[in-house]
Subunit: 481 residues, 2 copies
């Protein structure tokens, strides 16, 4: 008998990689703790900027007032007995009170487990939102509340993956949740590269090549993951790209997993949902596309909501076999239910104050303010990259990230090798040590052999940190020239 060691525990977990919260993130937290304790006199910076995680409320973003007012009443319903105080002294508008009452009438109590797939009335509200967004009705019975989109991805991959021969098409670069989850499930990631020269769009040809190669290797390719708008790329897909993926999935009987958590973070063009595109294809081609299986995911963590800490999200299923859906139900029921306050926040996100409602003006002003702020910072960062030697970056399109290419001098690549690191990891570590700015190396998301990138959010306020990246970059390039 032996105790647990790195050599006998689950090898699939050991195999999994998750750079977003890896070594750099840990190191940045150590710096932050040092600064807090006043032990940072030897550091060349006086604050840590976490540009490694899309975590808006850790940085500048304020929560939307309407949402939080309602949540405060859900947490303490006794406040509803003092409506005049709420209205006259605390500035709560009548629609805040009405929404809290209505949610409580359906939820009962946010301290109780809900039904496994979520509160029925909240699922109905989501269905209404989907219908309004896409112009096609949705069935609440195929909607599942989840603890953020991550937990939904975990559920879906647990159902789809039946061992090492199961392959899932995953975009590269990708949010490493996908590769990490596939490692843990001992399934096969079938990478397809996004086209950097076409604004990180999908190339059907590349997808087909990856698919054919995997098939030839005996892999049972079952699903294709699309992240739109993209993470880490920021790409916002055209309707044509979306439709072509659906057509391919239809042809090859692939489940489409549409990660659409950044659907409101779009600066360029419009968001095209997979469910909208699928319904349109079905309408325009009677009898066709009827058997496409689509799972689309959304979350309260991103967008102008930015409520990561509340772990709210949902996924909708279209075209799944009832027996398969029953297994999905069973799987979510083992984890009991998504956090109920997070579920309520999903309801508020999909059903915000409407024009004419007492809370509408403030809501609208806050929402637009956040949107414009993000856009402004995205372009400021983009502009800075234009002036950095060896850095190339497409114009911001969507999501919360920029993902520039970096061309580093050969000496820097050598120095990295000596430390046993990827060159972009070496660069990002140096950046953290010099500036306190934490970004994620491209190798954490996957990238074409020989190319180097890093991902940075544009959530942090101010421009000082952007200047410090520029200064660092210049010095780095000179050091290793």
């Amino acid at each position: 008998m032996t105790r647990l060691t790195i050599n006998n525990i689950n090898p699939n977990v050991v195999e999994a990689k998750y750079a977003v919260r890896g070594e750099l993130a840990v190191k940045s937290e150590e710096y932050r703790a040092k600064i807090r304790k006043g032990e940072a006199k030897d550091l060349p910076f006086d604050q840590v900027i976490s540009a490694n995680i899309g975590n808006p409320q850790q940085l500048d973003q304020k929560p939307i007032t309407f949402f939080r007012q309602v949540l405060s009443l859900l947490e303490n319903p006794l406040l509803l007995e003092k409506k005049e105080v709420l209205i006259e002294h605390l500035g709560y508008k009548p629609d805040v009170i009405e929404r809290a009452q209505s949610l409580l009438s359906h939820v009962g109590n946010v301290g109780a487990y809900s039904a496994s797939a979520g509160v029925p009335a909240i699922k109905e509200s989501i269905a209404k939102f989907l219908e309004e967004r896409d112009g096609f009705p949705a069935d609440p019975s195929h909607i599942y509340l989840s603890g953020g989109a991550s937990s939904g991805v975990n559920t879906l991959l647990n159902i789809i993956c039946a061992g090492p021969k199961t392959g899932i098409l995953v975009p590269i670069p990708q949010y490493p949740l996908y590769t990490a989850s596939l490692s843990v499930l001992n399934a096969t990631c079938v990478p397809y590269y996004l086209d950097e020269h076409a604004n990180w769009g999908t190339s059907l040809e590349t997808i087909k090549e990856a698919y054919d190669k995997a098939k030839k290797d005996g892999i049972d390719v079952r699903a294709i993951v699309i992240i739109n708008p993209g993470n880490p790329t920021g790409a916002s897909l055209s309707e044509e790209d979306v439709s072509s993926v659906i057509k391919f999935a239809d042809q090859e009987d692939l489940v489409v997993m549409a990660d659409e958590v950044y659907q409101t973070n779009v600066f360029k063009g419009t968001f095209h949902s997979f469910r909208g595109a699928l319904h349109k294809l079905q309408d325009e081609n009677p009898g066709q596309y009827k058997s496409v299986e689509l799972a689309s995911l959304h979350s309260v963590s991103k967008g102008m909501v930015g409520e990561c800490g509340h772990r709210g999200g949902y996924f909708e299923l279209i075209g799944f076999e009832p027996e398969v859906e029953a297994e999905i139900y069973k799987f979510v029921s083992i984890t009991l239910c998504a956090p109920v306050i997070g579920q309520c926040l999903v309801e508020l996100m999909v059903n915000p104050p409407k024009k004419g409602d007492p809370s509408y003006d403030l809501y609208s002003q806050e929402y637009t303010g956040i949107f414009e702020g993000l856009k402004k910072r995205a372009f400021a960062l983009y502009d800075a990259f234009q002036h950095m030697e060896g850095v190339e970056c497409g114009e911001p399109q969507g999501s919360m990230y920029l993902f520039p290419t970096i061309k580093l001098p050969a000496k820097a690549v050598e120095a990295a090798k000596k430390e046993g690191r990827e060159a972009d990891e070496f660069y990002c570590l140096r950046m953290l040590e010099a500036t306190g700015v934490c970004v994620v190396p491209g190798s954490g998301f996957g990238q074409k052999e020989g190319s180097l990138h890093f991902r940075t959010t544009f959530l942090a306020p101010g421009t000082e940190w952007v200047g410090s990246i520029q200064k660092f970059h210049k010095e780095f390039m000179e050091e290793f020239r």
Copy 2:
């Protein structure tokens, strides 16, 4: 290529069983919906009693005022700008405001992701609680916040289980989270039976037998799960039972997984924590028991807190290899973090108002009221079982459940067989149809071959439903005599 079907998806998920939210629970929700819509005239009852899930706040239990007042301020920190209104008009005590301010100073914003393993200050608070509870210090760096205890169990089993040859000793009867998770992970459940005739205590002899048999079958037994107080049994283990399990684990190098979520639901004797017993053994036997690996879990869902919907919990690790713990950290980081409001509720649970604090009197009164209410209802239900033919039940000891044995007539067993059901499932289904009371058949938790049980919570208010069970039982016994 084929679409997803029940025959090609993950067979380990298909294999998993989870009766607590299975057919009976679904049927009971259908009845509830019917009643709500006024379509229940043909039903012989006018309300559904969910005695199948330990979900206190779905039933009678009110949340603790102090907790919810603090949470309301965490959700809407703008309220902290109106302290006089909170105090003078809303009855918030100064310690509510102080706690909210202190939590916010550490958390920042409940809408932001926290560190992967949880908010550092909350881990410190838990460590202090553990030290006060057990008299031995705890190290916050080995504490991990989780989304309820379930998510902690999922993390730990994902790390420990390395395939079908990994065996985990699981008590039978057990909360089916364990067997379901082991199915999903394709690991082997090594059942050991609890001793009904010794108040459902652990028998070391039985554990050894199960262990030896599994070893002989080539199973690498790595851990033993203990649920104390017991679910579904309600058993509260003696210090001797706890120590003997630790000694056995030490001898055989087993990880001890101590599920202690019902630690405050104890009516008889005292709760003996595994970490307390381990430290005591270490102190009393210098140099011994140093390599025992213990993971103990707790939750805000049970006890007098009863905040299931908030998905808050934690686990503490003792004696794990640093490299193994690093993998646990990576695993939890893939799921980002536990719900932050749930984390704050953990802090409130482990650090409630103290004597002399402005909120103490109300807190204490509410806490005691809930405790006494549960105890009273447990004994009322126990008394009812004493008067039911063929029903045997030990005196209530702890947790939220009674788990009586039922002896059913041969004709009932036959009738069940005809329907393709276990006899206890048949009985529970009939009970639901006749009374609207939903309980869980013993077969959902595992039980000795030939014995039959059901699990019921004693959370529902009133005594009418208990009467209706008695009436149903009498009629059932007569029908099948």
